[in-house]
Symmetry: C2
Subunit: 441 residues, 2 copies
């Protein structure tokens, strides 16, 4: 780089899809203010795209079909990886780092599943691997966790971190519609993929939760140990029972540090409707973070989309430009993929968590059923917080809804097994966890 102008940060963008295209547009449209704020211009010198997009690339010096060409381009200081996927993206990031280039990526799946290796490599090569856009779209939640809240011992965090899932639950709630119907509508609106598994089964949320947990607790990225449960089992009846009890059902990613280990879990959750988090609707994202000094703070905004995600990608680029102008080659940021925390911080199996539960139990409409259900729970020390028992309408079975107080999950599982064995219980029990949280917001 000795021949290069140090007063410019030059960028190569691999992949001109939604995020890559948005990044290119943003850098062009807001160029003047970015130059002022970054301390130098940020110029796109090279893009790689499978399908040429001349309307986007007018001012770009070089265009390649092969993204690997960018990783070796001596003109490029920072490689922006916005291709997505695993193998090629991994290779692009690895080669870029090895060639001494900083990398900015929006690839949450790759960071969550193979990040430990990539962060170790970045550290060894003294370059930055930045990923603000990987979690929460345009919301600067990664910066909040690593910098804004850096003085705090993070006790827990909980977030709506998949816009598709939140849209579906919001619509089910607003229109009392079923999951399949709303999913189809979301697909028509472009909010859900043709194969929605990744979003509605919580895999995307688990990627993001894995990343946030690693930062918050200083533990390695452990996607494979994040518990994941989707929203396809939620019915309009569950939503309205929850509403009647003062709750909304949200698909949350939750990470909590306990004396027994770290909880990392994605699942439908009852959230008190007095909480801001319960009032985040549509495709919006929001993350609550509880620190031991700051208490509870919340960050919300658009979790996806070309423009919002580009905002986060370019924020990373501005940080890198500022580092460069200040003469920093190796900024101090908490490493990811290496344990900073007490090494005893292991991930708890889901059976070991302690929360409250919403249970919807289909039972025969006859005398003495409630007493039997209560007895099963009571025997295992499970206290009942609230019950809804409705009149049955021309049916021999009716649902009993019970909210339990906090109990360890394996105790609840044992009680559910026993309930399933009762003659009066006519079908599978619906179980949704209730997050009490602590602290305001």
């Amino acid at each position: 780089m000795s021949e290069k102008n140090k007063e410019i940060l030059t960028v190569g963008i691999c992949g001109l899809g939604t995020v890559g295209g948005g990044t290119l547009s943003l850098l062009e449209q807001n160029a003047a203010l970015i130059t002022v704020r970054a301390g130098c211009p940020i110029r796109v010198a090279h893009v790689a795209t499978r399908t040429p997009k001349p309307h986007l690339c007018g001012q770009v010096a070089q265009t390649s079909l092969d993204p690997l060409a960018i990783t070796a381009d001596p003109e490029v200081d920072v490689v922006v990886e916005t291709m997505g996927g695993f193998d090629v993206a991994f290779e692009v990031i690895k080669r870029s780092i090895s060639n001494g280039k900083h990398v900015v990526t929006a690839n949450k799946a790759l960071i969550a599943e193979r990040g430990n290796e990539l962060f170790a490599l970045a550290s060894a090569n003294e370059v930055t691997l930045a990923f603000e856009s990987a979690v929460g779209g345009g919301i600067p939640i990664i910066k909040a966790l690593r910098e804004g809240l850096a003085a705090n011992d993070i006790e827990w965090l909980a977030g709506i971190i998949n816009g598709t899932g939140n849209f579906i639950l919001s619509e089910m709630s607003a229109k009392q519609s079923g999951f399949s119907e709303v999913l189809q509508q979301a697909q028509e609106l472009g909010y859900a993929e043709a194969d929605p598994t990744f979003d509605v089964e919580g895999i995307d949320a688990a990627h993001k939760l894995t990343i946030m947990s690693a930062i918050a607790f200083g533990i390695p990225l452990q996607f494979e140990r994040t518990y994941t449960e989707g929203i396809s089992g939620i019915s309009p009846a569950d939503i309205s029972f929850a509403e009647e009890l003062g709750y909304r059902i949200k698909h949350l990613g939750i990470a909590r540090k306990t004396a027994r280990g770290v909880e990392m879990r994605v699942h439908p959750t009852l959230v008190s409707n007095s909480r801001l988090l319960a009032n985040v609707n549509g495709v919006g994202n929001a993350v609550m973070v509880q620190g031991n000094f700051v208490g509870s703070t919340l960050y919300s905004g658009p979790g996806a989309g070309a423009e919002a995600t580009a905002s986060a990608v370019v924020a990373d680029l501005i940080d890198l430009a500022r580092d460069r102008m200040a003469g920093v080659t190796n900024p101090v940021r908490p490493a990811l993929g290496t344990t900073q925390a007490d090494s005893s911080l292991d991930v708890l199996p889901i059976e070991q968590i302690e929360v409250g539960y919403y249970l919807k139990i289909p039972v025969l409409d006859k005398l003495g059923v409630m007493a039997k259900l209560s007895a099963v729970l009571q025997e295992r020390g499970i206290s009942i917080e609230a019950i809804i028992q409705k009149e049955s309408e021309n049916s021999e079975t009716l649902p009993v809804v019970i909210l339990t107080r906090v109990v360890r999950e394996y105790e609840l599982n044992a009680a559910l097994d026993e309930l399933a064995g009762l003659d009066e219980v006519t079908g599978p029990v619906t179980r949704i966890r209730i997050e009490p949280f602590d602290g305001e917001a």
Copy 2:
């Protein structure tokens, strides 16, 4: 500093009140994790306090009565100013900067009213003047504006930035109580001062808005041009009429960039109850920011308190420690107190803003009144969005509530003057601005 250990950041704290004491406690309690995250230990070497507090200062090497002693202490890298007030605090910051020390301050009044001079001095001396704790308590909103959203042209921001005022309005709403009654309760709970002017008349909020506007728009700090209106004129009737129309009344600080200039204003505001901002209750703070790429994001949390504010002070210290460990002496951050924006960005007088209005007009209960009111508004091109007219109960006057569409404020003022002259209008008209916002959240 040549003799000093470069692997420690040493701090002097001026003032051991709520925030200073909280900062000392935080640095002690979270010392281990701060060292890991900052890249080096952060040690308090010197404190200045008028009343000795040995229980807090056990590990501090030196204690002074005179805060100016700290500004000259060669052991001290960073001076934390947590005394508050103007003259001595200004002198402490000025001398610290002149002596080449970085400064971290929570003093929003001083930054808003005399910051231009201090930032220029810091820039000339190549030191950092940090102030995350000056706005929004523990919420990292300054970092979000300067770094997380740095890629965006900020179009507007709007915040609940005074916890006392928000507590009062929330309680008035929840209990249908009057302003004076709730204020007294807030004073008993320690949420309001004996002289509450600073909070309830919006001066504190105007300080914070001034600071956020300067960052968002790249304009000088202009506290004297920030329009300020308090909440003491809000009645329980206004709150319930607003509720009936789908709004909550919040005391907002609003900054908006328009083609005609910048609006900076603090006043009670009707906010649609579907917005998150409308659902922030109690002493909490929240700021919405609209960027041209990110769209609308929201940041909420505790806006005051020893521990939350200390979280922000120490975040600034950790940034400084990271700069130091990375060898940065003069980090690139958007300067405050110098114009980066188009110099034509002048502050608009309040008469020039364009919003909707809630009008509560006390009128005689007789035929034809509504027609007369409508005619006055219509003549000036003011469209009516909604009307509430209640039956009068054993009284000859009754309130008519009108929501107008967006109109320029001087047109509204002229219409109000005319309304005041009507025989049918029996008393002063209550006028509350309605913020439509644009974008989600």
